[in-house]
Subunit: 334 residues, 2 copies
């Protein structure tokens, strides 16, 4: 008797396809066994992290499966970027209420371009029936000398941010889901098409700043990716480094779409507490600023100096009263 299950057919068809099970010399055994076997090149370290996205919390349950897939992998790659680590491979634990072939095809198709772009094969996973949720385990490589960490900020360094601030929260608002104090000027249904597309991409297709982080790594004193809002994430960096951070809200870089569709107060709230930006917040010595900016320009990544590292603790926004509800997204706030 030949045992064949629907579950294993699904895995073979959509998750062991050549577009995801990419060949890399380090992957000595990929998907299909009880575990994958991976070679870490001499002089390198394994960098490992996990992020879970759950329907109704991290994305609308009816979002396009390809968008959910892209977002799930992109947010995990963003954690590698924050360590200045090179993507190596990933695992996927996916639960879904039913095995809809079209949904699975689109989810798989949404993962593949990003996996291919970063040469980051899917090497294993688990698929089970349950509430829609995707937990990715991401694996990268950094030099033996170490990764860029949160605890390297020292007073006198500048604070930088890649990309645009607040577009993630505005993207969520454009889907009709407002974060506290983050409202668009126009109803979601009346958004100009170009803005809608910009926000949609900002939310579902964040660009992991891997290339910038790898190129700039020698100049990065500390880094964190912005997932819960700048106040919260800069706060983690400050706490890990035992320093204070001054942020200047008036310097925050907002996208043209954001400036067109939201008030200044909303923009600042979206940036400071909105979350979902998956940009890189890092610190560096001011003498390296010109070199950092040149790297960013080469890679076509917006890069803005948004503050300074000081002695002390916490995050300070001079001339800007921080309302308590701006302290960043907290899954378990009371």
């Amino acid at each position: 008797m030949m045992v064949k299950s629907r579950e294993h057919e699904i895995i073979r068809r959509w998750f062991m396809a050549p577009g995801l099970a990419l060949q890399r010399p380090e992957i000595e055994l990929g998907s299909g066994d009880d575990a994958a076997v991976v070679r870490i090149p001499p002089g390198k370290r394994l960098v490992v992290s996990t992020d879970v996205l759950t329907a109704g919390r991290h994305f609308p349950a009816d979002a396009a499966p390809g968008m959910i897939a892209h977002r799930a992998l992109a947010t995990n790659l963003s954690d590698l970027a924050a360590m200045a680590a090179e993507p190596l491979c990933f695992t996927l634990a996916l639960t879904l209420p039913e095995a809809d072939p079209e949904w699975l095809r689109d989810f798989s198709a949404g993962l593949a371009p990003l996996a291919q772009h970063f040469d980051c094969p899917l090497v294993g996973g688990d698929l089970a029936r349950g509430p829609l949720q995707a937990a990715i385990g991401i694996h990268g490589l950094c030099p033996a000398a170490g990764a860029v960490r949160r605890d390297g900020a020292t007073p006198g360094q500048k604070v930088y941010l890649t990309g645009w601030a607040g577009d993630g929260a505005l993207g969520l608002a454009s889907l009709g889901i407002d974060a506290p104090g983050v409202h668009l000027n126009v109803a979601a249904a009346d958004l100009p098409e170009s803005c809608r597309e910009h926000f949609h991409n900002a939310y579902f297709r964040p660009e992991p700043r891997v290339a910038f982080a790898l190129a700039a790594a020698p100049l990065l004193a500390s880094a964190i990716d912005v997932s819960d809002g700048l106040l919260s994430d800069a706060g983690h960096l400050a706490a890990a480094s035992g320093v204070g951070i001054v942020l200047h809200p008036e310097r925050l870089p907002f996208s043209p779409a954001a400036r067109r569709c939201a008030s200044q107060a909303t923009l600042v709230r979206a940036a400071l507490s909105g979350g979902d930006d998956y940009e890189l917040c890092h610190t560096a010595d001011p003498v390296d600023e010109a070199r950092l900016m040149a790297i960013a320009t080469d890679l076509d990544v917006p890069l803005t100096c948004i503050g300074e590292v000081i002695s002390g603790e916490g995050v300070h926004c001079p001339g800007f009263g921080i309302e308590p509800e701006l302290a960043g997204f907290d899954h378990f706030a009371a």
Copy 2:
């Protein structure tokens, strides 16, 4: 302003505690940054896998949190055992409906003994509000020469099984959740206390066969862990190796509790299709049988020869008609 969130307090308190963030020389940077940094010793390979457990599917939603935690880590360690890989570290993506401090304390306390027993620190994770679900990413080490895989079975080898067969499904039945055709002789409420305890431990506290797999590795031609029932998992091993497998139901090893509380037909069904046993099914050359048995005896692990590898394909049970519904647990069966 010092940004502190409940989410990060929970993580620090229950998941970065010394009992889980164990010191190991390979862990150069553990929990608390965007990712962990791990050194793979020279001559070793990284072995990586992920398993997700979701409430109502893989465990009753009201199960004791410590039991859920133990089971989640044990089933992942079982995947390492199936590769004859030594545990290294793990990540945890946990979603739960609310941050109940007692639940989290007990979940954390349920992880710690197993993590400590296998010297397998928690090096990173994600915590979010959502349906109760735990996705673990498990990391191990195997020799550069390779892991024990599913595709090494060749005709003439014998098929072996560690531990008892079917206790996982009987454990589920003892919780009042019957798999197809798996019913206890007595109502769950009337089970003798010693049997209830045995089944409860079999279900919630499966013993990952890591020590046996590491000791026996040179003698193991192929291996898989039994998670979906012997028919299904032996079928995967047969398919990967391009061989057939003959299983002898009358040789299956059943625990005293199982023999006391279930009919022979139920025992065989529980073993062949019940799943949740997390025992090791492997093949080996018959000349190595005495050495294998000696290793098992030394480690106090029951080991039984349950069949043979033959030319051909599929899994065959001579003299035993396999009903279609016995083909193993399939999360997405039509």
